[in-house]
Structure formats: C-alpha cells, structure tokens
Amino acid sequence: MKNKNAISSNQLIFFTVASQVGVGIIFLPAQLAEIAGHDGWISVLIAGILFSFFILIVAAFMNRYKKKSIVEINRLLYGTYLGSIINVCLAAYTIIFSAAILRMMVEAMQLMGLKYTPRIVLTVFLIIPSIYTINGGLKVICRYLHITVFIGVILAIYIVLILGRIRPTYLMPLGEAGAKSIFNGVWTSIFAFLGIELIPFIYCEVNDKNHVVKKVLIGNLISIIIYISVVISTTGLFGEEMIKNLQIPLLSLARVCYSNIFERLDLYFVTTWVMAMGCVLRCYLFSGYYGAINAFNIKTRKWVVALIIIVLVCVISLEPREFIYLKERTKALGWIGFSVIVFYIFSYILSFINKRGVSR
C-alpha cells in the first residue's frame, strides 16, 4: 500500500515557503516601520540569515534520529509522561495557530464584501478545502502547495505594476534607524519566519533525507526574497510615516495598483492571498493532526481525531471578537512558535547527553 504521507525533499521547499510566507507578511511592513523605520528590510535580512542557522540546528537534531518524528523523539528524550505532555502541547500550539490563520482568512473574506455573512458560515466554508486536502495526506498537501508558485507570480506582477512609483529616497539613508532599532526589528521579523518549527513533525516522511537541509534552506531563501521585496516595495511606495498608519500594508499596495482593463485590482489580490493563507492553514492543520495521532498513538478511527481537531480549530477561531484581539493572539503565538524552535535547540543539546534512540 502506498504511503500517502511520503514526500520528496523538493516538496519540502514548497512546504517551507508556504508555511513561512502566507501569514507573517501581512503585518510585517507596518510593524517594521514602527520599529526600524525604512531600514526594516535589513532586519528582515538578518532575521532570515538567523533562521538559516536555526534550520541547520533543527536539521542536525532531526538527523540524529533519522526515521523518527518529533513526537517519538520527545518520548525518547523526556520519557513517556513528560514527552507525552510536550507532544500534546506541540499539537495544541499547531491547532491554536491553525485557528488564528482560519480567522484571518474569515476576516479577509469579510473585507472582500461578505460583511453580513455569519462568521461561522465563512469558517466552515473556508476549512472545507483544507479538510479535503489533508484527507489526501502530506503528499497531496505538498502537491497543493505548488499553488504558491502562482501566488508568487501574482505578487511579482503587483510589485512590477507599482515599480515606477517607488521612491528610492524613502529608503535612504541606509542604516539611519540605528543598530538598536534594526536589532529590535530582527525580533519582529523572526515571527514572520515561523513555519520551520513544523519541519520536525514531517521530517520522518521525507524520502531523501540527505537533501533536507539544502531544500529547507532554499525555501527559507525564497521566503527572505519575498519578504524583502514586499518590505522594500511598500516602504518605498508609502514611506515609513504613512506605512505606520496602515493596518495591512500589503493590501494597500494592491489598492494603489492600476490597470486600464481591470478596476480594483486589490480584490483579486486579496483572493490570491486567501489562498496563500490557506496553504499555511493546511501546513499547521496537518502537523496538528499528525502530531495528535502520533502523540496518542492512534492507529484506527483517525477520522475521529481529525473531526475533533477541526471542531476545535473552528471554535477557537471564532473566539476573538475583534480583529485587534486576533492581532494580539498572533503576536503571542509568534512567541510560542519561537519558543518551540528554542525547545528544539535545547533538545538537540540534550540528545548528546541522553542518547536513547539516536541513529548510529
């Protein structure tokens, strides 16, 4: 029987880009303008390079256990009880993160004209394609993530359309914000690069493990390029002062685009971005589901677990009353996500002391 979760390392590039870019990019330019002014892109670059090191460490950690998922590794490293608690926490994190993404998608839909449609309807409506994809396993998810190429092309077209209106003087002089501000910007940017904490969940399903590091690094590099392009183009277009007042600079970028044939190009852009967020949702939702069935060692009736997770995600996503609360939650999740990566680094160090299950 075919393993429907087996993927190639090439597919990992799509997984990395899709899990990193879809959500982090939404608020990043405004947050960076607040902290690092027009030098935000330098912070992004530094954060991206920093994340490349994290990737190397996480990959080295996973490589010590080869065919084991993070769930099994935690049990080996921390014992059955503590390991299980950690696993449940990790699954809970991915589920809560999924809920936040789903809510963002609902907000985007409401922005597109469905103001009066109940949120619950939109929530169910938006999660259906993700359920369908996840049902096909990791292989289908990674195939689906090829859509990021199309999304990338759309983003590039929008940037090209406003290219002539970018003022290089808005980005000058370089480094004016100062080292401290740029360093603070790195902290903010780090949250945008989250997504690689999911790699240990699926690492055991990658066929050619020798290429994992290279492919994840390529994915990370693509994410860096996308982030820098967006930050530079939005800052260069609006200027750092104006961008601070924009709720979602990426959407504003699409709003100023103009074409002779089509009007209101932002509508198509939001549509495309909902799909990008859908990609992130699939990555987190699958990791949550996969983590949960492994954490509880479920072999049969996996659909019950899937159903519980879907209901949980839907309910949690409906909880924040206003967009501002959602923004706060995303920030908190960013910290948790970063803590997960720190936890992986700690586990890596621990794996040299407790060598149970380490591949020779």
Binding site: M112, T117, I128, P129, Y132, H146, L267, G278
Partner: protein, 492 residues
C-alpha cells in the same frame, strides 16, 4: 446457483459421450442457437459437433472440419496428433467441460466423440461487423481517417497493421460473470512499464459485475476516485491516437463489442491535446493547445464571473463597460443567477436534443435554439444581451475541448461554480478554485499524478503540455507512463 458452482470447478471430460453431452445439454438448455449436431464416426461410435449457429461459417465447417473427421478411422481419431492432421488453422485440444462451454459461447466449434476424454475446439468465427469508417466524434485534418470497430479481433488487427513489431503484445481476460466480455490490454514490450501492466490487469480482473454493455462502465469500475467528474482514462476511437499512446508507454484497453478504447495512464492536460497538434506545424499545434486551455478556463469560469460581478462586485468593471452592462440588466426582472441558469440550461437542452436527434432534425433544433437564445430571449427581456454573448462564448469554448468526457465534466462543474458565485461572490469562486485544485492534485491515473507535469512539476515535460515544441526536441517519451525505454527511436 448450482450451475455457477459447478462451472467454477474444473470438470474433466469423460470418455463416456453421454455424460459429456448431459453436462453440455444442461448448460445449453433453452439455447436454440447452439447446435448439437450428432454424427456417427468410424466403428459406429457417436460424436457431436457443437457450435453457435449464427457465429460460424457453415460451408467451411462442413468442408474443412466435419467431412475430414467423418472420413477418419477410429485409430486416426484417437491419435494424439489429430489436430495437426486437419487443415484447421486455430484448432486445439480441450480437456475440461467448462472450458468447452466457454469456448462455444465465444463462437468456437467443439467436436467430442465417444471413447475420448478430449475435445477438439476450432475457431471459425465469422460474424457480421461494421466496416472501418472515420470516427464521427473525433475528426482531424491531416491524420488517417480510420476508426476502431466493435470487433476486438479487427481492432487488434488494425493496431498490428500499424505497428509491425513482435513487441506489440495483448493480454486477454474475461470480465462479467454473466456476459464473459473479452477485454484486452495492449502495450509495447520494452517500452510499457510491467508494473503498470500488472496493476491494470489486477484492476480489470478484480471487477465483479454481470457484464459490460460498453467501455463506459468498465472505465467507471476501474476508477479510483468514483465521485470525481473528471475522466482518468482517455476514450478514443482513433487507432492513430492509440498508436501514439503506445509509443509513449501507455496501455490500451480494448473491449470486444466497443469501438471505443481506453488509454492509461493519462494526465489532465492530455485531454486538451489532439492529434492535429502533432500532424501540423509545432507553432500551430502550440497555438491550438493554448487556445483549448483558455477555452477550458472560459467554459468553467465565464458565466460565474458574470454572476459574481453583477451580483456583488460591479465596481471591478471599467466605467465604460459598466454603463452598457447596467443598461442591459436594467429591464431584466430576474437576479443574475436565475438569468444565467435559465440560459445555460436552455443551451444544455439544445445540445442534448441535437445529440439524440437525427442529423437533419438536429440542424433545425440548432436554428430554433439560436433564434430563441439570440433574439427572442433578449426581446422578451428575460435575459440581458451581454449575457447572451457570454452564453454563446461559453458554449463554443466548451465544444473546443477534444475529449467529450472532459468537455462534459467542465460543463457540469460550471453549474456548481455559478451557484457558489451567486451565493458568495468572489469568495465562492476562490473556494471553488481551491477545492478544484486540491481535487486535481489529489487524483491519480493508474497510480500516476493526474495533474503532472504541472504538479508535481516536471520541467522537461512542459515542452509537450501547454506548448508543443518542434518534433526534433521530443526525443524523450513523457514520464507519466514510466516507460522502460525513455528515449524514442533506436537509441543511437
């Protein structure tokens, strides 16, 4: 029930003719078309020629089979080398009663006689078949004008005539507990992947059904994703198309009684390709392919975009177009979805009636339909004039798809999209695109990803997908059928 159980066992022929005939008679009870001709052979022993009356050539039977048998001595008849002494090309010994019964129903003549525990089976099938003509639904400009017919043997001979190579093989099997339909898998040894052949063989042999009325049910029973509207096998009547498929390592499924054959494995994009893409200049081929793919997108999305814009997002229409659009919609009493469903449903009814009716009436249906849609509906202010253009363009676009199955699939999903666009505007369209894409990447044709070479991306394969590069650059066979020999030609 009892008969089924007994037929499933291997029943050996007895040396007693009465026992054998009792069994055969019980099997062919109430079968007046099955002749059981009794003869007295040498030494006054009984013998029987059993055959289906309408399926054989009586003259040849009497001249080449009955007459020499009657002239033989008993010693000659019992000789183990008897079949080689008769001037029969396709004769052989059979030792099981159930095999004999099965061969008689296939159209063979069986001879059994007293004292022998073996039967002689001779293939003398000569039944009427349709002449080879050009397929009605698959026309082309520069390719050959012959099509498959209903007879399996003739279809195999057509392929054999085109591919004069001993490596062209056919694997036969029977499907259908009641009908025993003969099915053959054709492939070129050394190019086709043996694993795929085995997979397909297992898939077909495991089908449990009474019988196959045509290739459609076989296709549906073989399909992994039963609920998908998209075809997973290319159905064609064209031997040249099959030939091209075989050269790419694909497998062909032939069913006795069907002029349509199936090709597998195939990708989604194969349904937008036609033989003329290869018989004409590469530039024209590329242009035609791009046109068909754009037509596919139009066929699915255009009415939904109209509904979406007129219902929710009128602000995306440029001002110069918005005014005439508003004017044309102003007098229409229905919401856009009702207007769209009314027109699209009418178009589908016209199409269906044109298919069912004879050609000379079908033409007049087209005229009536054209008048109703083009003129009367607008004058009666049932629909806007702009939407008539949209309906017409959509209809033409959907007929541009070379595969009937794919064309139908696109037309059906269009209705789903229209309803979603009416309910949720661009959000509904986004939802649909997302679900459609997920569905397409999830599907597999004979275990191979359906949406390749786009997903999973195979850059080298793209040269013969949306575009068609000059033939000189098509040296490699496509990867979808996982051919054993990747390079076309002698590999020099």
């Amino acid at each position: 029930m009892e008969t089924q159980e007994s037929s499933s066992k291997e029943l050996k022929l007895s040396t007693n003719i009465k026992d054998n005939m009792n069994y055969i008679n019980s099997m062919f009870n109430n079968c007046p078309d099955i002749i059981r001709k009794k003869v007295i052979i040498a030494d006054s022993k009984e013998g029987y020629f059993i055959y289906p009356k309408a399926l054989i050539n009586i003259d040849v039977l009497q001249r080449d089979f009955i007459k020499p048998i009657l002239a033989m001595s008993l010693e000659e008849l019992y000789d183990d080398d008897l079949v080689n002494k008769l001037s029969l090309s396709e004769a052989g010994y059979r030792y099981e009663l159930n095999t004999i019964v099965s061969e008689i129903t296939d159209g063979n003549i069986v001879f059994i006689f007293d004292g022998s525990n073996k039967a002689i089976s001779y293939n003398l099938r000569t039944f009427e078949s349709r002449p080879i003509t050009e397929p009605v639904v698959e026309k082309n400009n520069r390719g050959p004008h012959e099509g498959f017919v209903e007879t399996l043997d003739i279809n195999i001979s057509i392929l054999r005539r085109k591919i004069k190579n001993h490596r062209l093989k056919f694997r036969n099997m029977k499907v259908g507990a009641a009908s025993n339909n003969q099915v053959a898998i054709g492939y070129i040894e050394g190019i086709a992947n043996p694993k795929l052949i085995d997979d397909l063989y297992e898939k077909i042999i495991s089908i449990d059904t009474d019988g196959l009325i045509s290739l459609g049910p076989l296709e549906q029973l073989m399909k992994d994703n039963q609920y998908s509207p998209f075809p997973l096998y290319i159905a064609t009547e064209r031997p040249d198309k099959v030939m091209a498929g075989l050269f790419e390592g694909q497998l062909v499924i032939l069913l006795d009684g069907s002029p349509v054959v199936l090709l597998a494995p195939v990708s989604f994009f194969a349904f937008f390709q036609a033989l003329d893409d290869y018989t004409s200049n590469w530039l024209f081929g590329t242009f035609s392919r791009i046109m068909r793919l754009v037509a596919g997108v139009i066929a699915v999305f255009l009415p939904a975009i109209y509904i979406m814009i007129t219902s929710y997002h009128y602000y995306v229409v440029p001002l110069n177009l918005l005014i005439p659009l508003a004017e044309s919609r102003a007098k229409v009493p229905f919401p856009p979805i009702v207007e769209a469903l009314l027109m699209e449903f009418t178009i589908e009814m016209i199409r269906e009636s044109a298919v069912r009716l004879p050609t000379y009436i079908g033409g007049s249906v087209g005229i009536v339909g054209g008048l109703v849609i083009g003129q009367a509906a607008v004058q009666a202010q049932l629909v806007s004039s702009l939407f008539v253009i949209i309906v017409a363009v959509t209809a033409i676009a959907s007929y541009l798809i070379p595969s009937h199955d794919m064309g139908t699939a696109l037309r059906v999903i269009r209705f789903v999209l229209m309803i979603l666009a009416a309910g949720f505007g661009i959000c509904g369209v986004t939802f649909f695109i997302s679900l459609l894409f997920a569905h397409l990447v999830k599907m597999e044709s004979l275990g191979q990803p359906y949406f390749q070479p786009m997903v999973p991306t195979k850059l080298k394969e793209l040269k013969d997908t949306i575009i068609r590069v000059p033939t000189i650059f098509l040296k490699q066979r496509p990867d979808i059928a996982k051919p054993l020999d990747r390079i076309r030609g002698k590999n020099k």
